[in-house]
Amino acid sequence: MECGTVRNFIWTRLTRSALVLTATVTMGVSITAHAEMLDVEKDELKFGFIKLTDMAPLAIAYEKGYFEDEGLFVTLEPQANWKVLLDRVITGELDGAHMLAGQPLAATIGFGTEAHIITPFSMDLNGNGITVSNDVWAEMKKNIPLQADGKPVHPIKADYLKPVVDRFRNDGKPFKMGMVFPVSTHNYELRYWLAAGGLHPGYYSGENITGQIQADVLLSVTPPPQMPATLEAGTIHGYCVGEPWNQQAVFKGIGVPVITDYEIWKDNPEKVFGITAGFADKYPNTALAVTKALIRAAMWLDENNNANRQEAVDILSRSEYVGADREVIANSMTGTFEYEKGDKRDVPDFNVFFRYFATYPYYSDAIWYLSQMRRWGQITDGKSDAWYKDVAAKVYRPDIYLAAAKLLVEEGLADKADFPWDTDGFKPPQTEFIDAITFDGRAPNSYLEQFPIGLKGTEKVEGSSVVDG
């Protein structure tokens, strides 16, 4: 036994020395490529994430050493659900987290726990899907027109779900669907898709925040990893969630994805990296360093036309990150998406991490989410266009993003052309929505007027009806 410990000891020493030698050589090479490192105020950080494939920038920044290059020592910790994640960022147990785009906005305006959360970095575009159970799909399929090759025509609008929902309600059974959090992108995309098909997804009111007032389809919250199980159990008949949970349903044979959010709103903003405003004020250099590392990770993920995605899949399939099986994650990360079993289609932009200026925190993105919060009553009263702009400016911080980008360009790690230096934070009016309604971030109120379903102007929800405010 003693011989073994001595042998162990010698072996550890040998390995350590060998590693020190390797480290010296590699670090000597890499350090010469950098300018002076930022003087970070807090270098030991803990970031939270939820087990979804779009936490990839965090995992890559850790595994590829981008955090360490900036002098940051980051621990990544998976969280139980979105609420726990947000609460822990607010109390300071987590220094920052992979967040839904709506979370910093909702927290800052006081829907849910109130706290001033900001974001200097948008983590990705697209990446979600809506899946329904096998039974519901069998009913929907009867009405969907087919292409020449016998496969259903895409995108599948909610118009084809309407007869199924009507049949359910005639039988006295509620039609339930799941989404991941009341202020999640999934909630708004699911509602958008349902409303575009003539189905009412329900209102929120000041007193009643279940979001089911006047609803044709009852929406409720389920954490992403539990969605396939809940669908299988029959508690819900469909859900909107990020990957790998849509492909998981296909692989396990328990559901069929009908549409991706890419088809609902092309290149929609999805997750952001959130930190408290206090953290950014107290540790400005640290915030810059974190943003730099994340930008590098995003660039790596989209590099060379997605050449690195397979390696990303290998990293994400480790149990400390996303943990799902490699084949399940590989589909969407490498640009294909399987709808019905056997119906695999090319969706090269299913996950966009850096292309199309995906990481820039646009004000117009924030305003879209705020407009949808207003549309469904989470923002109970009508607000002026200026109010939307103010909230967006409070929460989205392109100043930190551009400062980080500038440092990366100076250090020769990024191309000047990759960043939108001159933008005023508003994308040009966007038309690629499933219902073809144009969105202009500068005029959210007139945008809301265009929807047949949804609150407009000064309308309010009182009790179970809509009144003029």
């Binding site: 550890t12 850790y62 139980a80």
Partner: protein
């Protein structure tokens, strides 16, 4: 001839005495072996010491043979029925699948340790460079930032349950002594005990989380919030057996002992330390054993929600992963939790036997 027979009888007597001494020794060893669940060794020793084999074999059969047979039968039934149950995460794994994951988890642990060595190596290089550049004030030695491995998580769980159990003992034993000594206090406290005893840890958790978040402002590395929340939840659920048993033990000590104390005019503290505690010790230890068992069960649930990086979080994260190896890993965790619970119970039993034996010697 008589000389020979005398020598024979003398030798025979010596052998007899040796044998008796041997058996007395075996008898004493048996108590300790039983504490460690190794009671089946005794028949083997007795056979070696010359006892008739037949009777001892029957003892051996009961002590060792039956448990082994039971375990083998269970493994067989499991291996046969598991593939018949198909869930959406694949068939339920049999013993072979679970063993494979034990090896995988160990491999992951080794891989993580290698990464840690690389991290430490990079740190040494970095700090040496800073020293060389004269920036000694910026030299900092950090602990590894990677995710905790399975063995780390087992250790975290053990520490958390230990801390929670300690808190529970510190609250329950004094309170139990007071309740046992004074019938009035007992009557007053009893309704509260009966109401709070059945409350599940999952019901306590949100309250404990909110209170700890409000009161515990800082965030030290030694006592992270999730650790404190888990430990307090364990305390709240596991203090009841100790409390009730201590109160009962103290209330039922021999009245003559208490009279002796009064006659000798012993102070309160001397009475408690010299009279009350030693007499009530067996029941107090029974309470402690039960509390530790309850605490270990509660810990796993508390960790799942409080996000303490222990076995509870491991099970929850594996469930969230939904990979094809998740079910097997969760079963590994189930067996780990069971085996550790069994070992903890044995440790408490050993302590209890030691304490109560030392009384009578």
């Amino acid at each position: 001839m008589s000389v020979v027979s005398d020598i024979d009888t003398a030798a025979e007597e010596a052998r007899q005495r040796r044998k008796e001494r041997m058996f007395t020794w075996i008898g004493r060893a048996d108590t300790y072996l039983n504490m460690l669940a190794l009671g089946w060794v005794t028949p083997l020793l007795k056979i070696a010491a010359g006892d008739p084999v037949g009777h001892q074999l029957k003892e051996l059969g009961r002590g060792l043979g039956m448990p082994v047979l039971g375990i083998l039968l269970f493994l067989f039934v499991w291996a046969q029925t598991a593939p018949l149950v198909n869930t959406s995460l694949g068939a339920i794994p049999g013993p072979a699948g679970v063993w494979e994951q034990v090896e995988n988890l160990y491999d992951d642990h080794v891989r993580e340790r290698t990464k840690e060595d690389a991290f430490m190596a990079r740190q040494e290089v970095r700090n040496a460079k800073l020293e060389a550049q004269g920036k000694s004030d910026r030299v900092k030695w950090r602990s590894y930032t990677g995710a905790p491995t399975y063995l780390d998580q087992i250790w975290t769980s053990l520490i958390t349950v230990g801390f929670g159990f300690l808190l529970a003992t510190l609250v329950a034993v004094p309170l139990g002594i007071v309740c046992g000594l004074s019938k009035a206090v007992n009557a007053g406290v009893n309704p509260l005990i009966q109401i709070f005893k059945p409350v599940s840890p999952l019901a306590w958790l949100p309250l404990v989380t909110m209170i700890v978040s409000a009161v515990y402002a800082g965030n030290s590395d030694l006592f992270p919030k999730s650790f404190v929340v888990s430990a307090i939840t364990v305390m709240l659920c596991s203090l009841w057996p100790t409390l009730i048993n201590t109160a009962y033990g103290v209330a039922t000590i021999d009245k003559d002992l208490m009279n002796v104390g009064r006659v000798l005019q012993l102070s309160w503290s001397k009475q408690i330390v010299k009279l009350v505690l030693p007499s009530a010790m067996p029941l107090i230890f029974t309470g402690l054993r039960l509390s530790l068992g309850v605490g270990w069960m509660v810990l796993i649930a508390a960790e799942m929600l409080a996000q303490n990086p222990g076995l509870g979080k491991f099970v929850w994260d594996e469930f969230q992963n939904g990979s094809s190896s998740s079910l097997a890993k969760i079963l590994v965790a189930v067996f780990t939790i069971g085996i550790i619970g069994f070992l903890l119970d044995r440790v408490m039993l050993a302590l209890q036997t030691m304490f109560t034996h030392s009384e009578t010697h």
